[in-house]
Symmetry: D2
Subunit: 295 residues, 4 copies
């Protein structure tokens, strides 16, 4: 018989993750604010639920892919939250990008009610998720990690274990998103400078991302930013801003002055102020730098 997994959050990233869980043979009890999105999944492997609490009934695992700390807190502790029904020893695999302190708080609440919480944020865009090419960063108690591994393996190309401190994986995730943003700023400044000197933006981008910066981030965003082709929108500036704000908050809490965080934060704040919140975050950087340079 199939293992039951609760699943909450069919966004751009959540949907392909759910599909991979189904492919791996799990049965999903799905709750989503916009219920119609559930229809996109293989209905033979899915039970529609009316609330987070409903989705968490009688499961071994519940996977959540939510937009921010506030939504996570509501889904867990709300009137119809998953803590109302989550069975003893069931594991909440939390994929959302949230603060480490929120993870700690959630872990404590689960422990109080006899269930388990695991930080499990992922790196990868929706296409990567569909292709099972996500990277899972995880942290929490050893036995919880051991138990959750098959679920995490079924949605990713690899799992990196950042120890027992439950918030650690969240720190890594926020740091990684900051590094992606800093890379976009770096490319936008560089390609704009090159353009001013008559150097072809695409050529310089292709050169760097084939040699010194031969990595996915520089290949993918290098193409977008050098070509000024910011559509289709993969990740909005609004969400990017949220992540820059998380990095800024970590910088504050831990008393780590990070001037580069200020730069990317301001770039995204400027984008919001100019009305670009629904544009791809790469546009906030690419067009932002071009605008300041008068081109």
């Amino acid at each position: 018989m199939k293992t039951n997994i609760g699943f909450i959050g069919l966004g751009n990233l959540g949907t392909p993750i759910a599909q991979n869980l189904i492919k791996a043979g799990y049965h999903l009890q799905v709750y989503n604010r916009t219920a119609t999105k559930i229809d996109e999944l293989d209905q033979s492997a899915v039970t529609k639920c009316d609330s987070p609490a409903d989705a968490a009934k009688d499961v071994e695992f519940i996977v959540t892919v939510l937009s921010d700390d506030k939504v996570v807190r509501e889904v867990v502790t709300g009137e119809d939250g998953i803590l109302k029904t989550l069975p003893k020893n069931a594991i909440h695999i939390s994929i959302s990008t949230i603060l480490p302190e929120t993870s700690k708080e959630m872990a404590a609440l689960h422990e109080q009610s006899g269930s388990c919480y695991l930080a499990s944020p992922v790196f990868g865009r929706p296409e990567a998720a569909a292709a099972k090419l996500l990277w899972v960063c995880t942290s929490g108690k050893a036995e919880i990690k051991e138990a959750a591994k098959p679920v995490q393996e079924s949605i990713s190309q690899g799992i990196i274990d950042f120890g027992e401190e439950v918030g650690a994986a969240n720190v890594v995730k926020i740091t990684g998103n900051f590094m992606i943003q800093a890379s976009m700023e770096m490319m936008a400044e560089s390609y704009t400078l090159a353009e001013k000197y008559g150097v072809d933006r695409s050529q310089i981008s292709e050169f760097f991302s084939a040699t010194l910066f031969n990595a996915p981030i520089f290949k993918n965003y290098g193409k977008i930013i050098s070509g000024k082709q910011y559509e289709p929108v993969g990740f909005t500036s609004q969400l990017g801003y949220k992540d820059a704000n998380l990095a800024f908050r970590l910088s504050q809490q831990s008393q780590t002055p990070m001037p580069l965080v200020n730069i990317v934060h301001n770039r995204l704040l400027t984008a919001l102020a100019k009305g670009w919140k629904d544009r791809d975050w790469s546009e906030a950087f690419g067009r932002g730098v071009s605008d300041d340079a008068g081109i």
Copy 2:
């Protein structure tokens, strides 16, 4: 019979380049300010010269690997400069990291005296040069590039042609060094943040440089910065500062506001002010961020 090549500049990078030219069968007429460094080369393939002009006599090519714009200008136009003797149609392959305007000025001077100038800066540390793993960026007239190709091939793993505008390759080189510096700042901030949250610096560095940032810059400098192992010194903060200043000047001349250039420039200026000029440039970033974070 062997082709004669003039060669000036046996620094950390120049020496392995000269060695590869010798391996490729060229005969070198070498001038170096510190003449004893010439003794390190295979003497059967080398003629010692007393001045740049001496090195440029009767050659088909002259290769220069010099520290900055001022030295290039002196070596070319000085009383014993190469323009005094460089034969008609001989090609000056200029490997130094200099401003595009200096390249333009040099190209014009060579043209006036019937010789040729080619911008030919390279990417790669001394070890890479020794292993013939440099990347050559080049720009200038098509026929000059065609003629110089065998020489460039003998010292590199690849040549990227940035067109006929002679300063273009210099812009690419300065941009690339800026991107390396920005990457070091990014890593230093990220790893310090992680450290404050109890995440192992090496683990986060290894994770990123095996996945999203799977590129030489992040692997090499990630290891140095996460491990705080800033020795041996590969490239000094003083030289790094010089390059940050070149990037800043390009930003000014082309009216391209580049806030990230300010960050890396200040990081290196702070290092100089603190007396770290002879330390590796990675230390300026790694230790600079740690210091500000009080650890």
Copy 3:
């Protein structure tokens, strides 16, 4: 008969304000977390209270001078908060430096319980408060402002009315503190530069603050920063950091990119990271800039 005023918050600034209220003939019902501080006031004009609610009983006004938004919220809405007892139509004159949204929230809660709330932050250091030289910025409903005027006049040299929108005065206060911090950064950078060129720090400070920058902020802090005489501590770096964070949050909420806010924020964050939280905020700037300059 004397008017009764509740008073909460005998900090560095609150104490001289309370003394001026007493001089003006008011009778104070005082609550302070550290009760012994109440002994410093003229006991014939004071009633000691055990809680905020106790202090708010049967008064026409209650004046609060508290450290941050959280404390204000507790004092107002807590179990023994002032809303429990504050009489109908009594006016809460709120002197604390808090977010405009907190003022709005407080105003709404007072209105619900029939009492009145007035934003009334002040500019001036403790000595200025003692000399009745504070400036009061105020905002709220016209009739509340009219009624509170005699109380505000008895503690200040002037009242500036920023309209009916209750949070406006809080915005002005946060903005002003930011401008003071930016001025300190400006002076610290300028005097350090001058020092490096052999120009006397005090002389340049005296020149500017006697001519173009002939204003209290430049006179007072100019003297402190040029003389590197950061003691006695008037306002801690910790509190300065709190204010920089408020400015940053306004910048975020209102989508106003403010790069200078980042600079002062990082300067203070660095001070905290270096363990200087109890040092005067002027030291965070003066010593921070000197440190980076290696002197």
Copy 4:
């Protein structure tokens, strides 16, 4: 008999200075690139000259008010430069905003040819110059300063002596212009933030410049920036940028990291990139901040 003074540079600032010298009873030998500007002066007190050398003949003093280091160098050392004719012991009173190193170089050249050089930059806009309200900052040898005092007094409200090191007054002048720019940035950010919260820009500006920031810079530029009334143009963004660049170069030479200099430099560079070079420098700040904030 009247003392003869050479005078070079009838720009916005030079013209009222020349007029005050005439009022004080001096006879001027004037050279200006655009000769027709000389017609605006009282012709009975003026001799028109054809070159700097011509203006420097048989004078006791020569006053220069020029745009930058390059022009100063040409006027002094050019083929028809003043060193060709300046009598022994005659004093060159140099009012231009230039680098301290240029002053040093000029002082040495004058000394070699038996004449004297005095750094004498001034603070004040053209209206202030006309009203004899300039402030003169001066530095150089004691006897030169003593001799030049009557001339400096006839154009200013006060002279501040920064010692014998000739470049000191230039450092003070560059620093002061930086402080004015930083103040404009500070006001632009503050008023834009206030505007977003519905606080009247003029009211907040008037409040601060009547109290904590009760100084000319905040009164004058506060009015311009809060009212967004950037015309008429008093000092162009192009010239402001030149000064920001001087401050940046001092920061580099002296190894004094100055992040606030970066902010004002980028603000002005962005203005140039957007085509605002002939707009008032206050607009670079005021409109620059508004643009980023989307208003």
